[in-house]
């Protein structure tokens, strides 16, 4: 192949357009650092504004990038509808998270958090639009490090600092293990692009033992990001410890990037019928089942809402894995599930935060009798909970239905009992999930409060966002094809 410098330069120049949104983010990152340093004192929200502007621009470029697909930077950067939509979701949710942060933590000047947020977003973009292990690792690390800092950033008390520490240590260990696995894979294939024929060839020739080792090590890293069993153990603690805004961030955005990466990986690897393909198939089935079970079962006993939500998101990870498993060339329902998941989680965390503002507690017990005091909020919250369970007419139901549909079609063609078990477990766990999701309305509406809680009537930006999200939950539940048509048009 031609490796002359000018040619490479040309190629890089040529592939810059594909990189515009990220470039914007990078610039914004730097800008934010400076604003945080210099303007923060004079004008409090300067960094926030800068961050918003950045995101807006990046969003603009993203939309403008919409139709065209392609690869750049000698195949390291790959832009296809999946990545585009994933990044779209990421940017949008980051916007909400930014507002969330601004609303919640605008007391002392902590503008740096926005730059970190942008860094995380950048990492996510990288994750969701590459098929190269190097890029993937960089992305994962960017996201991880950024989230470590975010978790630790506001740590005023023991709990938060502990959460941050656990997060960083657990994360780094997983990263290290994954890196080791990657090194092995690299050694076996001599190629870092997991979609390339050479890579697959290498895997085919490789001895089983090594392959097993390498693959499982790699899955450790991804498992940490997706927090599926057995790498979920960190998430309840961290979710509970971290500030609610950050928890909202953790529970949604990193997963998007990771799941997209995993989807690509899984698709390319299972396209063949070799040991490593079967291995990953079995791996994903088993993990999906266990994750759904453990996530929902463990949530039953939780008394802290954020902890409960942590487990619930673990459970949802199981379903995401199911979606990935049934992942075929048209991944619209995967995106659909991602969107649904993000919307539901963001909404519920905003609600949790609002209630925390009122009662100063995230314990379920403190919700007793609040239903009468904040009827609107709790009605919306209940609807979101219903959607999380997956009961019509909500987006959660449609998403779940589509995952089941695709999985079933897979089952029908393969007749694999494991798949059926996965389906049944998926169905049954939604019954179990009813138990704990409905603790929220149970305490809010059915129980009567003993101590009077003074509820300040204030209508905040966040609540408006949350209500809009709730409306979306219902709307997409009844007319999913509005979202779906949008997602699937560009694939044809």
């Amino acid at each position: 192949m031609n490796v002359s410098i000018p040619h490479i330069l040309d190629q890089i120049i040529a592939s810059v357009p594909l990189f515009k949104p990220e470039l914007v983010l990078i610039i914004g990152f730097i800008v934010c650092i400076f604003t945080a340093l210099f303007f923060e004192k004079r004008w409090k929200n300067s960094t926030f504004i800068a961050c918003m502007v950045t995101l807006a621009f990046s969003l603009y470029y993203l939309i403008d990038q919409m139709p065209n697909t392609g690869t750049g930077f000698s195949g390291m950067w790959l832009v296809d509808p999946l990545s585009t939509y994933a990044r779209l979701v990421i940017i949008c949710s980051t916007l909400i998270i930014a507002i969330f942060l601004q609303q919640r933590h605008s007391k002392k000047n902590n503008g740096d958090v926005y730059s970190i947020l942008l860094a995380a977003t950048l990492g996510m973009h990288v994750l969701s639009s590459t098929s190269n292990w190097l890029m993937a690792f960089i992305g994962i690390e960017m996201v991880s490090i950024a989230s470590y800092i975010l978790v630790g950033y506001f740590s005023q008390n023991k709990v938060q600092s502990e959460a941050a520490m656990k997060y960083v240590l657990f994360g780094s260990v997983c990263a290290a293990v994954m890196l080791y696995g990657l090194s092995l894979v690299y050694g076996l294939t001599g190629n870092l692009d997991f979609q390339s024929a050479m890579h697959l060839q290498g895997l085919m020739d490789a001895p089983k033992a090594i392959i097993t080792l390498a693959l499982l090590f790699i899955f450790v890293g991804i498992g940490f990001k997706l927090s599926f069993v057995p790498f979920h153990v960190w998430s309840p603690d961290v979710y509970q410890g971290a500030p609610t805004a950050i928890t909202a961030f953790l529970s949604t955005i990193p997963k998007v990037g990771a799941i997209v990466l995993f989807a690509r990986l899984y698709q390319s690897w299972t396209s063949t019928a070799f040991y490593f393909s079967e291995l990953s198939t079995w791996f994903i089935i088993g993990v999906a089942i266990v994750t759904m079970l453990i996530g929902n079962l463990a949530a039953l006993r939780q008394q802290d809402v954020k902890r409960m939500m942590a487990y619930s998101s673990i459970g949802h990870t199981g379903l995401l894995l199911m979606a990935v498993f049934a992942y075929q060339d048209a991944f619209s329902y995967l995106l659909f599930y991602i969107v649904a998941y993000v919307v539901m989680n963001l909404a519920s965390f905003i609600f949790i935060d609002q209630i925390e503002q009122q009662t100063g507690s995230t314990s379920l017990l403190s919700y007793a009798g609040l239903g009468k005091k904040m009827p609107l909020l709790f009605t919306a919250f209940t609807l979101v909970a219903v959607s999380l369970i997956g009961i019509p007419p909500t987006v959660g139901f449609v998403a779940k239905l589509m995952v089941f549909t695709s999985t079933f079609s897979f089952f029908q063609s393969s007749g694999d009992t494991g798949v059926l078990v996965m389906l049944i477990v998926g169905a049954l766990t939604s019954v179990i999930s009813l138990f704990f999701y409905f603790k929220i309305p149970l305490y809010a509406f059915l129980r009567d409060t003993d101590q009077p809680v003074a509820v300040k009537k204030q209508i905040s930006v966040l609540l408006c966002i949350a209500y809009t999200l709730t409306i979306l939950v219902i709307l997409f539940g009844i007319f999913p094809n509005w979202l779906m048509a949008y997602l699937s048009t560009s694939f044809s």
């Binding site: 619209s332 329902y333 009961i391 019509p392 549909t405 049954l428 999913p480 094809n481 699937s488 694939f491």
Partner: protein, 534 residues
């Protein structure tokens, strides 16, 4: 926007209206609810009036009436194929009586909830949403739509029981919810399976259209639920059988059958009177309706082979429920168990696969619909007065509240199958159908029919015993003088609610053709659908 859609979505308008009106004017809520339910009742009567009784329905698309079909969801899932979901509603002889019944029962329940003072806004809003869902379930012909309405029913009920219910309401509410959800999530899997097995002959896409599912020609060969040449097995059980079982399980929970009935007594006892009325009057019917509309119509082959077991379950439910009712000391619980027993007849009749049995089962559903509603209302009357339902705390009420006693006696005798009242026709024809099954060789032995008729005897036993214990003899009350004053006789509102049901029971008992006339064609149609597999 056809008449049927209006019927379905009127309550939604009512809900929005109620939510819009500030809580300061809470008095208006019940009137709004009343107006809308009355309107619905009128519409349903209009539907009834203009219904063409000759058309069969079941699996013939063109035999449905008031049909509306709009493309609702069209999604391209790539290799999975196109998702084709219609807003497809229509009624035939099976659904018409139940729709009329539901509107009536809703009217009753609104009447029963006249003096709800605990946050009436939420109460009536939920009630109306429930109302909408019920109407939807009975008229949906697209499985997806059906499922959506089916699930939407649960939420309002959860809150209605949970917030306005009795002492153990939380337990009852969640139990009810879990039971039903358990049934329905498994149903969802089967729905998905059916979706993949059936294609719409017109468009060639997979479809949720129930009527397409009823036609063997539309099944893809080798698909999971394929009619012929189906080798799929789940844990060694043929796929179609397992599909039938799962669906039956889902609906049997609602019916409910023994041993899936335990949610019912709790739910009934804890629920406020209007909700018990709806539960007994409408929700149980959803089960029976589902079995006819879904299990039997989509899986006729399995239905023909399994009806022995269904009949057995029916008989067991009849006797078991009756015996339980006999043992109860709480009046409401007794009536709850009597519902189990009476719904057992429905199952037996359906399983008999004879015209008499099926028609009898439908009739039994209708009559049990408003009779049990009346019974629960009567219990509510007593409970409103003295907040007690314990049978042994009352004695000789007859001399204290003659009007009330008269209504109770009529309701009791009507539901223990005294000829001249509707329940008799239902039960008698279920029994006759079960006897007939042997001559029709649908494989229901006659001892089952005899077993079912024992249920009639037992029902007489517990109703009369209750009558004797609570109403006859010298007046002696637990609450003494205080109750003496509290136990005033029926007021006008209560009589206005009760009288129509009693009158209706009598009317249908004397002129069963009012119901039989409309559902006969559909029943024959269903029999013809199943006969080839016998």
């Amino acid at each position: 926007m056809g008449l049927l859609s209006i019927l379905i979505f009127l309550p939604l308008v009512a809900t929005l209206l109620i939510l819009a009106i500030p809580s300061s004017a809470k008095a208006t809520y019940k009137y709004i609810a009343l107006c809308f339910t009355l309107l619905q009742f009128g519409i349903s009567l209009y539907l009834y009036g203009n219904f063409d009784a000759k058309l069969g329905g079941i699996e013939q698309m063109d035999a449905y009436q008031y049909v509306e079909q709009l493309a609702w969801i069209r999604m391209d899932l790539g290799t999975v194929g196109k998702l084709e979901i219609d807003y497809f509603i229509g009624i035939d002889g099976i659904s018409l009586p139940l729709i009329v019944l539901s509107t009536l029962v809703m009217l009753m329940s609104v009447g029963a909830s006249w003096n709800i003072d605990k946050s009436p806004k939420g109460y009536f809003a939920l009630l109306m949403i429930l109302n909408m869902a019920v109407m939807g379930v009975f008229s949906a012909l697209d499985f997806f739509l059906f499922y959506v309405f089916y699930e939407v029913m649960l939420l309002p009920l959860y809150f209605l029981i949970g917030i306005w219910g009795g002492a153990r309401r939380e337990y009852a509410a969640i139990k009810f919810f879990i039971y039903t959800l358990l049934g329905s999530v498994l149903m969802l899997l089967v729905i998905v399976g059916l979706y993949f097995s059936v294609i719409n002959p017109a468009t060639g896409a997979h479809t949720f259209n129930m009527l397409h599912m009823m036609n063997p020609a539309n099944y893809v060969d080798g698909s999971f639920f394929a009619h012929i040449t189906n080798y799929h097995e789940v844990f060694g059980i043929p796929a179609r059988l397992i599909g039938f079982i799962v669906l039956f399980f889902a609906f049997a929970i609602k019916v409910p059958i023994v041993p899936l009935h335990t949610w019912l007594p709790d739910a009934h006892v804890e629920a406020p009177t209007p909700v018990s009325i709806i539960l007994a009057g409408v929700l149980l019917k959803v089960g029976g309706y589902g079995i006819i509309r879904v299990c039997y119509s989509i899986f006729p082959d399995i239905a023909a082979n399994t009806n022995w077991w269904l009949a057995l379950i029916g008989v067991i439910s009849i006797v078991y429920g009756a015996l339980n009712a006999l043992a109860q000391k709480d009046l409401k619980r007794m009536i709850a168990y009597s519902s189990v027993s009476h719904m057992g007849f429905v199952l037996l009749g359906i399983a008999s696969l004879t015209a008499e049995g099926l028609a009898g089962a439908m009739f039994q559903m209708v009559s049990h619909g408003f009779l049990s509603a009346a019974l629960f209302f009567l219990v509510g009357v007593l409970y409103d007065r003295v907040h007690d339902r314990y049978i042994y705390n009352f004695r000789g009420l007859a001399s204290l509240m003659p009007k009330y006693t008269a209504y109770v006696a009529i309701a009791f005798f009507a539901s223990l199958g005294l000829p001249g009242f509707s329940a008799f026709i239902g039960e008698a024809f279920v029994i006759i159908g079960a006897f007939n099954a042997e001559s029709m060789s649908t494989g229901i032995p006659r001892w089952m029919a005899v077993g079912g008729s024992i249920g009639i005897l037992l029902s007489a036993a517990y109703f009369l015993w209750t009558l004797q214990r609570m109403f006859f003899g010298q007046t002696r009350l637990q609450g003494g003088q205080a109750w003496q004053e509290a136990l005033t006789d029926l007021n006008t509102r209560e009589q206005v609610v009760l009288f129509p049901t009693v009158a209706l029971a009598l009317l249908l008992g004397i002129m069963p053709s009012l119901v039989f006339g409309n559902l006969n064609a559909s029943v024959i149609q269903l029999i013809d659908l199943i006969k080839p597999y016998l």
